[in-house]
Symmetry: C2
C-alpha cells in the first residue's frame, strides 16, 4: 500500500548504495503469491513494477481483496510479527524486498524515512476508511461506480466531464472480491452502465467512462 512516492524520496541525495545494500530485487510471475497471510513477517516490500493484489481469506475460501498496489506502493507496513494479508502478483510484478533488520538500519541512518513510512501508513488508513464505507454501506451499483472512479484517480485525471480511458488489468473475480460482490453482479452492473451510456466496454480490460461526473454521483449515492 502507499502510492506514487518512492521510498527513495526521503533519502534524496544520500547514498543510494546503502539503500541497495539493504534490499534485494525480486520478480514475481503472474498469479504467484509472495506473501502468505499469517506467515512470520520478515520483510517489507516496495512495488517497483507491475501490479500486486493484497487479500485476506476466510477458512472456507471466501476472499476479500483489501487493495491493489502498483509501482511505488509499500507493502508489509501492517506488520506485527505476522502478515495480516496475503499478496500475489497480478500479471507479473517486480519488487524490492527489505528485511526488517535492514529496514531498521535504514531508519536509523535516515530518520526522515520513519516519517515517510508513517505518512504512507496514514494515507493508506484514510483509503481503508473509505473502503469500509463502500463495503459496509454502499449498494452494488455504488460500489462498481466507486471502483471505476477510483481507477481514474490512479492516472492523473486530465479533466472531469470528459471521457476517460481506463484499463482494468484485473479479472472480474478480483474486482468482485475487492468490492465484496460476485462476478455475476459486477458483470451485470457494468452491462447496465453500458446500456445507460455511462461507459463503453471496448474490451474486457478496456473501458471508457463516457460520463465520469454522473458515475461519481452514483458512487456517492446521489444519482
Amino acid at each position: 500500500m502507499g502510492r506514487r512516492l518512492s521510498i527513495c524520496s526521503s533519502i534524496d541525495d544520500c547514498d543510494l548504495a546503502i539503500l541497495a545494500s539493504e534490499s534485494s530485487r525480486m520478480t514475481v510471475a503472474d498469479g504467484r503469491s509472495f506473501i502468505e497471510e499469517g506467515a512470520p513477517a520478515n520483510d517489507f516490500f516496495v512495488v517497483t513494477g507491475g501490479r500486486v493484489k493484497l487479500f485476506t481469506l476466510l477458512p472456507d475460501g471466501r476472499r476479500q481483496i483489501t487493495g491493489f498496489a502498483e509501482g511505488g506502493d509499500f507493502l508489509g507496513l501492517a506488520a506485527s510479527t505476522s502478515y495480516a494479508f496475503g499478496a500475489e502478483a497480478l500479471g507479473g510484478a517486480t519488487l524490492c524486498r527489505f528485511p526488517h533488520a535492514g529496514m531498521q538500519r535504514l531508519t536509523e541512518r535516515f530518520p526522515s524515512l520513519e516519517h515517510r513510512l508513517r505518512e504512507e501508513a496514514s494515507r493508506e488508513l484514510a483509503l481503508m476508511q473509505a473502503r469500509m464505507t463502500l463495503l459496509g454501506r454502499k449498494t452494488a451499483r455504488e460500489r462498481v461506480a466507486t471502483f471505476l472512479i477510483e481507477r481514474c484517480s490512479h492516472l492523473d485525471r486530465p479533466d472531469p466531464a470528459h471521457p476517460i480511458e481506463l484499463d482494468l488489468p484485473m479479472p472480474r473475480t478480483d474486482i468482485a472480491d475487492y468490492l465484496g460482490l460476485t462476478i455475476e453482479t459486477v458483470s451485470r452492473i457494468l452491462s447496465a452502465f453500458k446500456k445507460e451510456k455511462l461507459i463503453n466496454i471496448r474490451s474486457i480490460t478496456h473501458i471508457t467512462l463516457l460520463a465520469p461526473e454522473r458515475i461519481s454521483m452514483i458512487a456517492e449515492g446521489m444519482e
Copy 2:
C-alpha cells in the same frame, strides 16, 4: 486508533512537562462530535478516558462506523490535510489534543515517537484489513459473532472456553453501523444466539458469552 500503549511510552523518563506543554486536555460530552469529516486536520488526539466512535458518512446519511477507540488509543493519524472520518464521544470521553505543529516539535525532540506512531498506524492497518473482510465477505451471523469476540479481546481474556462477561457500551444503532447491518438484524441475531444458548443477555448492555469457543468458530465461518 491504536491501543493500550500510551503515547508517553516512547518518551519514558523524559520531561513529561514538554509533552504537556504541547497538548491540551479536553472533555467531550456524550454524543458530542469533536472531529468533523472533511474538516481541516489540525490536531492529533489521544483518548485518555471514556470511549469514542469514528465514522464516515455518505451524503444521504448512511453511516459506517470505522472503529471504536478508548483509553490509550490514537486518533487523527489518518491525516492528510483533512480528516477522513468524523469522531464523536460515546458516553463521554476525555482527550489529549496535540496540534500538528506541536506534534512535529515533539517528534523532533523524541525521534522514537515517530516510530511509535508508525507502529500504531500499522497495527490499525492490520485491524482494518480484518474489518474489510468482515464487511465484504461475512454473513450477518458471522459479523455479530466477530463483534462479540472482538469485544472480548479488549479486556484481557482470562481463559477461553469459560463464560465471559461483556458490556457493550454502544447502542444497537452503533453496532449495526459498525457491522454494516441494520439494528433489526443485530437484534435478531443476538436473540438467536441467546436461544441457542451461546450467550445470555442480562441487560441491553450486559452480555455473557456462554460458549466463546463456538462463537469464535461462527465468527470465522466454521460453525
